[in-house]
């Protein structure tokens, strides 16, 4: 039992890490990765939604009629997104402002709906929570990696600290929209190189 739950948790960290292995949830990873701080904030908010929507979907999996299941999943996910939105508005207001419309847009993050449909609708609550937590942490790490690359190259800082010394000329391109696409494309390329051994 414990073994299989650990397995569900682990697969989200590497084997099926969301934005790279399953190409899902690309919009936030392009939009909120200008700095590590934003990226991690977004990742944690998404993790919360994945875990609790998975839990609720798994608990209700025998009650929800299969014809209206997608609509039911969307309502469950939207409820938890609203919770995150209100909590962040109350306690981390500056971050809430920076992430802007991308917090309500967690609703349409394909990972949330994808995991509810592909995993939580067929598995018991505990395994589903492990799956959601694994996916969420994998997603957070991916966001943080892209965020670290863009912040360090584009601004010369990491979490506000200078990394390359005073003579470093920031590579501004990385912070702009085109840089986000190119950076993510190259990270995917590196992931393919490592993964295809």
């Amino acid at each position: 039992m414990a073994q299989s739950i650990l397995k569900e948790f682990n697969k989200g960290l590497w084997e099926q890490v969301p934005p790279f292995r399953l190409v899902l949830g690309l919009c936030p990873i392009l939009a909120v990765t200008k700095s590590v701080e934003n990226a991690v904030g977004m990742g944690l908010a998404s993790t919360f939604v994945f875990v609790f929507s998975n839990l609720l979907v798994a608990m209700l999996r025998n009650i929800i009629p299969s014809k209206v299941r997608i609509a039911a999943y969307i309502i469950i996910i939207a409820t938890f997104v609203t919770v995150v939105e209100l909590v962040m508005q109350a306690y981390t207001y500056p971050l809430f402002l920076k992430l802007g419309i991308f917090i309500p847009l967690i609703v349409v993050n394909c990972i949330a709906l994808g995991r509810a449909e592909a995993f939580a609708s067929k598995n018991p609550p505990l395994a589903s929570v492990a799956d959601g937590l694994g996916m969420g942490i994998g997603y957070t790490i991916s966001l943080a990696v892209v965020g670290a690359l863009r912040e360090s190259l584009g601004n010369g800082t990491l979490l506000g600290h200078t990394v390359f010394g005073p003579d470093f000329l920031p590579f501004r391109f990385m912070l702009e929209a085109p840089g986000a696409f190119v950076c993510l494309g190259l990270v995917l390329c590196v992931m393919n190189l490592i993964g295809k051994k």
Partner: protein, 191 residues
């Protein structure tokens, strides 16, 4: 009138929903491998975004605001989008079968297209009037279709090129999207 033209240009070219605001990237990479699917998706997106933009605006102004329940915005908007997509699908199937065969398979995909919900939320956030909402919804979605079709054209060519193995498919697609985004960058000084 001039204001609306400025708004239209900024929505299509400068603040392009796909390349500058990063919304709707999953279907962008998913449906751009062939030109005909890209055109179908683009048309379906224009259709749904305009309808959804107008209906969510009305909901916000006449229902959520007077009752002071704006915290239900996310929940109600996603429900509107999802049911609208269902409704449009059924309507087209019954009354305009020709259009349905063209758009049919793309309609269910649109529910999870974050560009739809994104445009609705931007309209509210920018506090647009009804006419501005109409213009911005239409032009944002046209900008989405424009970028999607441009990208599909380039992607059809890339299939013929020899790309390094790890760079293939999504990876080279993202780098290409970056190049197109650079082209759109040139419009920034326009308005």
């Amino acid at each position: 009138m001039g204001d609306y033209i400025v708004l239209a240009i900024s929505c299509i070219l400068i603040n392009n929903i796909l390349l500058a605001q990063f919304l709707g990237n999953c279907p962008f990479l998913g449906t751009s491998k062939r030109m005909d699917t890209a055109v179908g998706m683009a048309m379906a997106v224009v259709f749904v975004i305009v309808l959804a933009g107008v209906i969510t605006w009305i909901t916000e102004i006449y229902l959520l605001k007077p009752l002071d329940i704006e915290y239900l915005r996310t929940l109600s908007f996603i429900l509107i989008v999802a049911s609208l997509v269902q409704f449009v699908e059924m309507f087209l199937k019954k009354s305009i079968p020709a259009l349905y065969t063209g758009l049919g398979i793309f309609l269910p995909l649109i529910t999870t297209n974050c560009a739809v919900l994104g445009v609705c939320l931007i309209n509210i956030k920018e506090e647009y009037t009804f006419l501005e909402t109409l213009v911005s919804s239409f032009t944002y979605s046209v900008g989405y279709g424009f970028a999607l079709i441009l990208f599909a054209g380039i992607r059809e060519r890339i299939i013929l090129a020899r790309v390094l193995k790890p760079l293939q498919d999504t990876s080279i697609g993202l780098v290409t999207a970056g190049m197109i985004a650079i082209c759109f960058f040139a419009f920034i000084g326009m308005v």
